[in-house]
Each structure stands twice: as structure tokens, then as C-alpha cells.
């Protein structure tokens, strides 16, 4: 029993980390623009395809030891950069021209972008790459090679702890720490927080709000790209709808944590991951969405602005 608990805890934590990484992108953009970037999950998805393509090009499935880890590091960096650039491009091409339009215009456009990106995912999935299993079926999940050794680090224990678990949790924590330092300790972070509270006043401080917005999309997209590699390493598949489901969960995590609140997104992501793991184990996977969203709805009834969201927007 205790073993099962520990195992589900681990599973929940690792899944939660992925949700948290994606949720950060939703929440940071919302914090600054009060806008839900519904295409964010699909940036995550495209980054997954990008990472898989890289893995195939580099021949990573055959690499071992130091070379494997070095190249894996490269894949992480490049996929993050890819996510960052795609996210920024979307903002510049689609959202920025609508910045002064009524709020529903960018929202509907974001839903449109989401579908466009999913179609790009389909096209990408149809490419005749070896790793894609010969192409042909664009919608079919592509298997992402299990790059990391699957030996149990705990030896013969009933609890399985693989290198990928350690890597997912460790790398996610490292990235979150860097993000935390960026937001709290740097001038850019200070400008981001000021802009989130009052963009007009921020401009009066000499802050170029456009650049802060661009930086926010870059950071959010980078986190999504990073999350995509982590997810692919863990789940071992990439498919065109992976952004839809995970994005929806991550968005929910962001709302539960308090949309716009950075620690809240992490907290919400972890909570979602844990609830999901335990509900799968003890109630049954077929009930997952009902249990998960049931709990979240109750939570939001009691804390409508989320766990760490401010109950009222300060107006002074």
C-alpha cells in the first residue's frame, strides 16, 4: 500500500512538473496582457515534433553515455529556443495587431492559431522520417525513443524510480529556479512584474512594454519547448493533439493556482498531476476527467481567484 502511494506520488509529481511548465506560459502571458493564449499548448506540441525530428537527425537513439547526455542537453536547449521563437512569432503576427481590439478578437484568433498549429503538426507527422514509422498516418502517435536507461535506481525495491523520473523532476526544478531568479532578481523581471500591474505606469518609468511582452512570449514559449522534451522523454510519444489535452490541463492548473500568479501555476500544475495520479490509481482512469475537474470546480467555488490569486485586484 505504502509502495503504491509512493509510486503514485512520483507519477503525480513528474506529470505535475510538465503541467506546471506549460501552465507558466499561460499565466505569464495572462499576467501581462490579460489574455489567454489558447495556442500555447500547441506550441508545446510543435516543440515535441521538433525535438523528435532533432533526435532522429542526430541519431540519438543509438547514442550512449556522455554523448547521449550532451546531445540530449542540446535537444532541450534547441527545443526551448524553438518554442520561444514560435511563440514570439505568433504574437507578432497575430496577437500584436489586435492589441487594442476588444478582448474577444485576440481570444478567437488564439483558438484559430491553435487549429493552424495542429494542422502543421499533422503535416509534420506525415513526413517520411524514420522515427515517425514511415509516415503515412499523420494523426498516429509517433514514438519518441526511450533514450534513457530504464533500470530501477532503487534496485530491487517495489518502487520504481528511473533515471527519467529524476531527470524530469530535477530539470524542471532547475528551470523553475532560473525563472524565479529571472522574475525576482533581474531588471527584466522587475519590469515584467511592473507591466503586469500597470502597463501605463510602467511606460512612464521608461519601460518598453512591447519588449516586455516579447520577452514574456519568449520565456513562455521556451518553457513549453522544454516541457515538450521532458514530456516526450517521459511518455515516449508525440502526436498532433498532445497540445490540446495537456494544454487544457495546464491552463486549468494555471487558473486553479491563480491565473497571472507564477508560483500559483507551479502549485496548480503539481496539484493537478497528483490528483490525476491518485484518481487513476484509486478510482479508475476512466473517471479521471470527472474526478479531476470535480475537485477543481469545488476548489474554485471556495477560492474563485485560485489558490494564490489575489481575491481582489488592487485598485488604488
Amino acid at each position: 500500500m505504502l509502495d503504491t502511494l509512493a509510486q503514485q506520488l512520483l507519477l503525480g509529481l513528474t506529470n505535475g512538473m510538465v503541467f506546471a511548465l506549460i501552465a507558466l506560459g499561460y499565466t505569464m502571458v495572462y499576467g501581462i496582457l490579460e489574455f489567454i493564449n489558447f495556442a500555447h499548448g500547441d506550441v508545446f506540441m510543435l516543440s515535441g515534433f521538433f525535438a523528435l525530428t532533432l533526435v532522429s537527425v542526430l541519431g540519438l537513439q543509438d547514442a550512449q553515455g556522455f554523448s547521449l547526455f550532451a546531445q540530449l542537453g542540446l535537444v532541450l536547449v534547441l527545443a526551448s529556443a524553438f518554442g520561444a521563437v514560435v511563440n514570439l512569432l505568433i504574437d507578432r503576427l497575430v496577437y500584436k495587431p489586435l492589441r487594442k481590439a476588444p478582448k474577444l478578437a485576440p481570444l478567437v484568433s488564439a483558438i484559430g492559431v491553435s487549429f493552424v498549429l495542429q494542422n502543421i503538426g499533422l503535416i509534420w507527422g506525415a513526413m517520411p522520417l524514420d522515427v515517425f514509422g514511415g509516415g503515412g498516418q499523420p494523426a498516429a502517435p509517433k514514438s519518441f525513443p526511450a533514450l534513457l536507461p530504464t533500470t530501477n535506481l532503487l534496485g530491487n525495491s517495489a518502487i520504481t524510480l528511473q533515471l527519467k523520473d529524476v531527470l524530469v523532476i530535477g530539470a524542471s526544478l532547475a528551470v523553475m529556479t532560473v525563472l524565479y531568479l529571472l522574475v525576482t532578481r533581474t531588471k527584466l523581471g522587475m519590469a515584467m512584474r511592473a507591466t503586469a500591474q500597470d502597463p501605463q505606469a510602467a511606460r512612464l518609468m521608461g519601460i518598453d512594454v512591447d519588449r516586455v511582452v516579447a520577452a514574456t512570449f519568449l520565456v513562455g514559449g521556451g518553457l513549453a519547448g522544454f516541457a515538450a522534451v521532458v514530456y516526450a522523454l517521459y511518455i515516449n510519444t508525440v502526436y498532433y493533439q498532445m497540445g490540446y489535452q495537456n494544454g487544457l490541463y495546464a491552463f486549468t492548473a494555471a487558473v486553479v493556482g491563480g491565473i497571472g500568479n507564477i508560483p500559483g501555476a507551479v502549485l496548480g500544475g503539481l496539484l493537478l498531476g497528483l490528483v490525476r495520479a491518485f484518481s487513476d490509481q484509486f478510482i479508475g482512469a476512466q473517471w479521471q476527467p470527472a474526478v479531476l475537474f470535480g475537485i477543481l470546480i469545488v476548489l474554485l467555488v471556495f477560492r474563485p481567484s485560485g489558490l494564490l490569486g489575489s481575491t481582489a485586484r488592487e485598485k488604488v
Partner: protein
């Protein structure tokens, strides 16, 4: 130093400034008075670039400000302490002041200005770790003025710094404005508290529904019967 020449500005379809012109010379305290809704705030936001006029000219030290976005106008040496204070409520007092110094890199100068602000407003030093949103109205106004001072502007735009504050605090803030001016900062002060503003002003403009209807030295306007009747209440 600052020349505002016949600016027309609108909010949506409604024009609210109908050709406002005014000048500020280096070293002056110029005040712009007028009733609620006259267009004072709009005039200041046009100068600082938050709002762009439909026509007219605004030049600062010979430089055309109209094509510049607000954040670049700050770099020209103009600080705007906006109506309603607009401090960053979820950031500490110290961080609000640091944001004032956002465009600066001269560490020693920043330190010096910070010390100056803390000595002018000791309560800010006391509360430097407190979130700005938890300060009283008067403290927030002091913070807003301090934050604008951190820009170390040559021209400081102040929008109703006395609004809603106790007389003692208003006096404190006006003393600081005078002190800043003595130390070389040029001031453009918007006020509904016309009597106090006119008393410290070198020159003044009266704005009425989007047009300048009178100008003169502070003393002249204080003595003007029309101004007395309309803006000085009991006089």
C-alpha cells in the same frame, strides 16, 4: 524648455483639447489649473506620450516629442507623476523606487537620489519593505513623487498631487516640490487646489473645457476677479 503648440486631442470621437498651447521655461514652476474635466490630465498625458494628440506640436528642448513613444520620452528627461498615483501595488516601496531608476545605470547617483528621497519622506524609509498597495493615500502620493524623482528628470509633470490628502500632507508635498525646484528641476503642476498652486507658481494657465482661457504670473491670476470667482471658491 517645453513648448506645447495648439494641440487637439480626443478620447474616441470626442475632442477634449481644442488647441491648447503653453510654454514652460527652464527653472520655472508652471501650474495648469481648471475644473474637473477641463482637460488637464489629457494635456499632461499628451506631453508624456501616453496619449497622442490629433494635431499640434510638442517640443522639449527643441526636440519633437510627438513621434516618440512614452518610454522614450522618459529618456528625454521628462517624468510624469500621474493622476491617482499609480504606484505598483504588489511591489515594495523600495522596488517602486528602483523602478523609477529603471532607465539609469549610474549606481552612485541612484544611491544618492534614494537617500535624498528617504530624507525628504522618512516614512518611505520606514516602510521600504512594505507593499505599496498597503500604504495610505498620502504615503502612496509621496512614493509616486519619489518614484518620479528617481528618474532624475529635468522636467517633472505632476498631476493633482494634493488630491484627497490631509492638509498637512499636502503641505509636505508642496514643500518638496518647492525644494526640488530650488535644486533645479522644472515643474509643470496640474492642480484643482488652485490657491496653493498659484501661490508657488512662477506662471499659470487656466484651462476651461479644453481651451486655455487665461494665463499670467501666479500673483496676477490670484488677483484676477474672474479666476477668484471660478477657482478660488470663497474669494
Amino acid at each position: 524648455m517645453l513648448i506645447v503648440d495648439a494641440i487637439h486631442a480626443a478620447h474616441g470621437a470626442i475632442e477634449v483639447l481644442h488647441g491648447v498651447s503653453l510654454k514652460v521655461q527652464a527653472g520655472e514652476i508652471v501650474t495648469l489649473i481648471g475644473a474637473n474635466g477641463a482637460g488637464k490630465t489629457t494635456t499632461l498625458t499628451c506631453i508624456s506620450g501616453l496619449h497622442k494628440p490629433k494635431s499640434g506640436k510638442i517640443a522639449f528642448e527643441g526636440k519633437d516629442l510627438l513621434p516618440l513613444p512614452a518610454h522614450d520620452i522618459v529618456h528625454c528627461g521628462i517624468a510624469h507623476c500621474p493622476e491617482g498615483r499609480r504606484v505598483f501595488p504588489r511591489q515594495s516601496v523600495a522596488e517602486n523606487l528602483a523602478l523609477g531608476a529603471y532607465i539609469r545605470n549610474d549606481k552612485a547617483g541612484i544611491r544618492q537620489d534614494l537617500d535624498k528621497i528617504y530624507s525628504l519622506f522618512p516614512v518611505l524609509l520606514e516602510r521600504r519593505a512594505q507593499l505599496a498597495g498597503t500604504l495610505s493615500g498620502g504615503e502612496q502620493q509621496m512614493l509616486a513623487v519619489g518614484r518620479a524623482m528617481m528618474i532624475r528628470p529635468r522636467l517633472l509633470l505632476l498631476d493633482e498631487p494634493s488630491l484627497g490628502l490631509a492638509p498637512l500632507i499636502v503641505k509636505r508635498i508642496f514643500d518638496v516640490i518647492l525644494e526640488l525646484n530650488r535644486q533645479g528641476t522644472t515643474i509643470l503642476l496640474v492642480e484643482q487646489n488652485a490657491r496653493m498652486a498659484l501661490k508657488i507658481a512662477s506662471r499659470a494657465y487656466v484651462l476651461e473645457t479644453g481651451s486655455v482661457i487665461a494665463e499670467g504670473t501666479g500673483a496676477e491670476l490670484l488677483a484676477d476677479p474672474k479666476v477668484q470667482a471660478a477657482y478660488l471658491g470663497d474669494a
